[in-house]
Symmetry: C2
Subunit: 338 residues, 2 copies
């Protein structure tokens, strides 16, 4: 059996996460038992939620255990099978973790899913046609529930969730406005992702200044907001929300490092009769088929052309992950493992 | 026509509201035109939302104009009518404002409503069987949507909204926990209003300490919270919310004075996948008949025995109102005008 390089969580972050929290180890892959398959990972997905798992505190999921392989979504190819459900050569998406191979019990519900790479590149099943895409879909369709002509905003607009959100919004005839960091990302959001406008938060020192820029980009106010970052950006958006606006809360990257990120004016929730709703898409499996179908069609027809930031080799995963938390990636952050 | 004493808004508060913001004036009531009625007010309702109207900033409603009679709910008796819809002696509820009499166009939709005082005392139509009661009903039934066996919490538990909320929660078989200030209010909440427990926030210096007390009162966590005050109380409740909990936001007394009351850990909205929704009940007139019917029955059958704090005479309204903002009232704050 092949040697398997893995990244394990070695110790928990004190404040900001560092590469020293991780450790690279090599282990033999165990021989397959009946019903198992061996998957060689082509890509590993890096996502902000992983930062939350590194802490020991209360969160929506169990903490990542120390000394075990970091959790993470993967796409790859079945290289050996002792299950009638899969054959060598099958392309699959799963939760293989930060490692080069995984041994998976094929009968475990939801552990693996076969995918078709005829019209959709394999890596996109970790982004636009995977968990981030469905996350954008759920937030927009099920929480924001936009009506024609409304204005919807997303932070981290060029990321995996943001770019899917933009395409889904435009497909519904909405005004889609992004928030991103730096002129390159903002230009890309408008030119390539189809956003009607994009506001560069790095040009603003405080929420008041950012709120003013948002007002120019959203002259009719904001009806729906998909929250990915928290902090100053959320404060600035709140100041522009229309009455009865909806905010889908899915990530608060700015807050994952343990520093509390207070919300300055929660009274605006009352003043504008807002709905602010947190969710994690893994709790809404019933929408996945519908969402994946729409997202796959958008990609296959060129209406959603997600960008990827690709690090090479499993050893590069910790550094790439820390960069993601700081917004250094440009598009969906992946690690290529072959 | 009788002389009418009125309280007008003389100037806007700089920070905390003071009696100097108001002015008492006397004016003759104008002669009635066709279709109008003259109502003599028996009670004026004082409510936290009025503080928001005193500011000039963006809120859910137009600011109270300077020099005009303060807005407010009233119950009273028709003393003269030039409308076929009302006769002298009819008991009515309306928005007569901070004054002894009002002249009302009977055809204006929603301006006046005849009420039956056989089983429900007139003053209760400003509280349990009026806007505050419907507010509690909407928050509990339409936003929190509790399921059997769940725990629901309300701040300002002995106030007009809180006491109705408690009775509505108990009628649905829920665990109802109040938050109130001082041992007298807490004892009253449990002994008279039927709450299962009541936490005295005045015993706690910070959100952490209050959160611990709430945990003891809510051993299964909190599924629904009706937010009336903001600030430290909201932070403490948030720390005890169960996954998929719902928070109805209707008042943030602590924030009305213009001092921002930040929310310390908005990330908890994501961690626990909460829904936080602001509302004002005047935008949901469709629920009023159903809500008023249930509330009237609860009062008529003695299951809801709301307490009232009654100030005497129109001149006492500003002082009573400022006391309400500081939690000095005990039960629904009214001004008796006859």
């Amino acid at each position: 059996m092949p040697l398997n390089q893995q990244i394990v969580l070695d110790n928990r972050p004190q404040g900001e996460a560092t590469t020293g929290n991780f450790k690279l180890v090599s282990r033999d892959t165990p021989p397959l038992e009946d019903g198992q398959v061996l998957v060689r990972h082509h890509y590993l997905s890096l996502d902000p939620y992983m930062r939350g798992r590194m802490n020991d505190g209360k969160s929506y999921a169990q903490p990542q255990p120390l000394g075990e392989v970091m959790i993470g979504g993967t796409v790859g190819e079945v290289v050996e099978s002792r299950s009638p459900k899969y054959a060598a050569g099958d392309k699959v998406v799963g939760m293989g973790g930060w490692q080069e191979y995984s041994v998976v019990s094929a009968d475990q519900p939801g552990a693996l899913r076969k995918v078709d790479t005829t019209h959709v590149p394999l890596s996109h099943y970790l982004g636009a046609v995977g968990m981030p895409g469905v996350t954008a879909w759920y937030g927009l369709v099920k929480i924001i529930e936009p009506q024609a002509g409304q204005t919807v905003v997303v932070s981290a607009a060029t990321g995996a969730v943001g770019s899917a959100y933009g395409a889904l919004a435009k497909a519904r005839g909405l005004r889609a406005v992004g928030i991103a960091g730096g002129p390159d990302k903002c230009k890309y959001a408008v030119d390539e992702l189809g956003f009607d406008a994009c506001v560069d938060y790095k040009l603003h020192q405080d929420a008041g200044s950012l709120a003013k820029a948002l007002r120019e980009a959203c002259p009719k106010g904001i009806d729906g907001y998909f929250e990915n970052v928290g902090g100053m950006v959320l404060d600035a958006v709140l100041a522009n929300m229309n009455a009865h606006g909806r905010i889908a809360v899915c990530g608060m990257i700015a807050g994952y490092d343990g520093r509390p990120m207070p919300l300055a004016y929660p009274a605006l929730i009352l003043v504008n009769r807002l709905k602010v709703q947190g969710f994690i898409v893994g709790e809404h499996m019933e929408v996945w088929p519908e969402a994946l179908k729409e997202l796959g069609t958008l990609v296959a027809t060129g209406k959603l052309r997600p960008r990827e930031s690709i690090a090479q080799g499993i050893a590069s995963a910790p550094e790439a992950f820390l960069g993601l938390l700081k917004g250094k990636n440009f598009g969906k952050q992946l690690v290529k493992l072959i």
